[in-house]
């Protein structure tokens, strides 16, 4: 075992993993975390704790990760390159590990221009590839500068992949780079374009990459037609085909959420069968209370004990 995290145990035992997401509150609001955590406990294997998502200030992801542990969840601690230099990153990783965090997801981060402090200085001292490499080197006992660490933080290392962003042909090579840098698992961007996803997974399989890394397919159920339209036109790197829009258009407004869940469940069924996919990462943004029902409907329950 690299880290001994529950997520690592689930994946290495060959179970189909199921991870969720919890966005920390915009305040020192413990209750908000407890409430969200309550919906996810026992339903997902690990929960991603986002790091100032969309460049909006929120409770720090390591602190919220610790609070998630206290609520009986296993966190997947997200860290972006936008807000910290390599000194701060490495010290946060040491602290996070000492406090019991065992999974990490390494990201570039949304540009600060999208957030609530657009005048701030973006750090980007290192990029997500270099962060993955750093967490791997730290696990092996060395800081970025090559100096020894007395007690290495042994993280299970995650990275993101967007199979849909251009240039498409390059995306699978970038996945290969992330694996080479040290990624143990991948969580993809929200998937709506299944055709493109199938092609990307096929290419990854052909290059032998799915043997080297666990890929968790990213699913975000559409709550409404409005959300689908917003995702299509406003969210960077998102690929929402017209079929998705049309299918939601075909049902009355009240039932669109239910239809979105049905679509998500169909996707999950397909991924369960797809060679090279090791699990699902469910990003039910501000819809945590619906996660148990989605998990149930998608046949993801009960979760295996490891």
């Amino acid at each position: 075992m690299k880290s001994g995290s529950k997520l690592e145990k689930i994946l290495s035992a060959g179970h189909f993993a199921f991870t969720g997401e919890l966005g920390p509150p915009r305040g020192a609001n413990l209750e908000a975390i407890q409430k969200k955590a309550g919906h996810l406990k026992g339903v997902v294997d690990s929960v991603n704790i986002t790091d100032n998502q969309t460049a909006v200030v929120r409770m720090s992801s390591w602190a919220a990760s610790i609070l998630a542990i206290q609520e009986g969840l296993e966190p997947n601690y997200q860290m972006v390159c936008r807000d910290r230099n390599r000194l701060a990153m490495q010290s946060d990783i040491l602290g996070a590990y000492a406090l019991g965090i065992r999974n990490m997801l390494c990201l570039s981060g949304d540009h600060q221009q999208f957030g609530d402090h657009p005048q701030c200085k973006g750090v980007f001292d290192i990029d997500s590839m270099q962060l993955i490499m750093a967490v791997k080197e730290m696990r092996d006992g060395k800081f970025i500068n090559g100096q020894e660490i007395d007690e290495p933080p042994r993280m299970f290392i995650g990275a993101a992949a967007n199979p849909f962003a251009e240039p498409f042909e390059w995306r699978v090579y970038r996945l290969a780079k992330k694996i080479k840098a040290g990624a143990d698992f991948i969580q993809t961007q929200c998937i709506y374009n299944m055709e493109k996803m199938r092609e990307w997974v096929k290419r990854a399989r052909d290059m032998g990459l799915t043997e080297k890394v666990y890929i968790l397919a990213g699913i975000t159920p559409m709550k409404s037609l409005g959300m689908a339209r917003y995702m299509k036109s406003k969210v960077p790197g998102m690929d929402v085909p017209d079929e998705v829009i049309n299918r939601l258009k075909g049902v009355e407004k009240k039932k669109q959420g239910q239809e979105g869940i049905a679509m998500a469940c169909e996707q999950i069924q397909e991924f369960k069968e797809m060679k090279g996919i090791s699990g699902i990462h469910l990003m039910a943004i501000e819809w945590e209370h619906r996660v148990p029902e989605i998990a149930e409907q998608a046949g993801m329950l009960p979760r295996p004990e490891v």
């Binding site: 949304d110 540009h111 980007f124 270099q130 967007n162 251009e166």
Partner: protein, 225 residues
């Protein structure tokens, strides 16, 4: 070249408020080429300032002078006799020129009339684009002559990120994604192997003030010290 932009007029007026005799100092090199602080712009600014003083009881006076380069001592010397006649200087040079002017005349307050914006190129008349952040460790050989530190909004060395919008950057649909361009140009040249390898963390050499002495000149300055 270095590209600058004139400050808003009200801000300039605020900076020089209270001074009675002000010399507007232009620079004949980069800021002249980018139409921000050459002889012509000095004339325009001085005229506007004079006009704005018309209703004052004791209007301030404005002189004009443009030197070839404010970042060069040899040219600043031309101002030695003129400056003592003024009680403030308003420089239209880049940040380096302004500082060198202030260093030469330490008894006279110096104010900036432009904001220095970037090192860039001239796309067309009056249209400039940033190309270099002077990071001190050039990677253009790896990236097909397109700078990811400058042209990528996140300065990624292992791009592209997952936010690309077609071939545009996630921050602006009118800004091409640097890594998309790098990919296309390397593919065209058959050199994609350059970015298959992971590029390690950058050595940011521009994090403290720097001095450069070109090879061959070391001795000259060592003995001078």
């Amino acid at each position: 070249m270095i590209v600058a932009k004139r400050k808003p007029f009200e801000e300039i007026k605020g900076l020089i408020q209270g001074y009675k005799k002000i010399l507007v100092v232009g620079c004949g090199t980069c800021v002249a080429v980018c139409l921000a602080g050459g002889e012509k712009e000095v004339g325009v600014l001085a005229a506007e300032l004079r006009l704005s003083q018309k209703s004052e009881k004791e209007p301030a006076e404005f002189g004009e002078a443009t030197v070839q380069r404010q970042c060069d001592r040899e040219f600043l010397a031309e101002l030695d006799d003129l400056v003592p006649e003024y009680d403030a200087l308003l420089s239209m040079a880049c940040g380096a020129g302004i500082q060198f002017l202030a260093e030469r005349f330490p008894d006279t307050p110096v104010f900036p009339a432009v904001d220095t914006t970037f090192i860039g190129v001239n796309q067309d008349v009056g249209w400039y684009e940033e190309r270099c952040k002077a990071c001190g460790s050039c990677v253009l050989g790896m990236t097909a002559g397109i700078c990811p530190v400058t042209m990528c909004a996140k300065s990624l060395l292992n791009g592209p990120c997952g936010g690309t919008n077609g071939s545009s950057c996630e921050v602006d649909p009118n800004q091409p994604c640097a890594w998309h361009m790098i990919y296309e140009r390397l593919a065209r040249q058959g050199r994609l192997d350059k970015i298959i390898e992971i590029c390690p963390a950058n050595d940011w050499r521009n994090q403290k003030p720097q001095t450069l002495i070109q090879p061959g000149y070391e001795e000259r300055y060592e003995s001078g010290k």
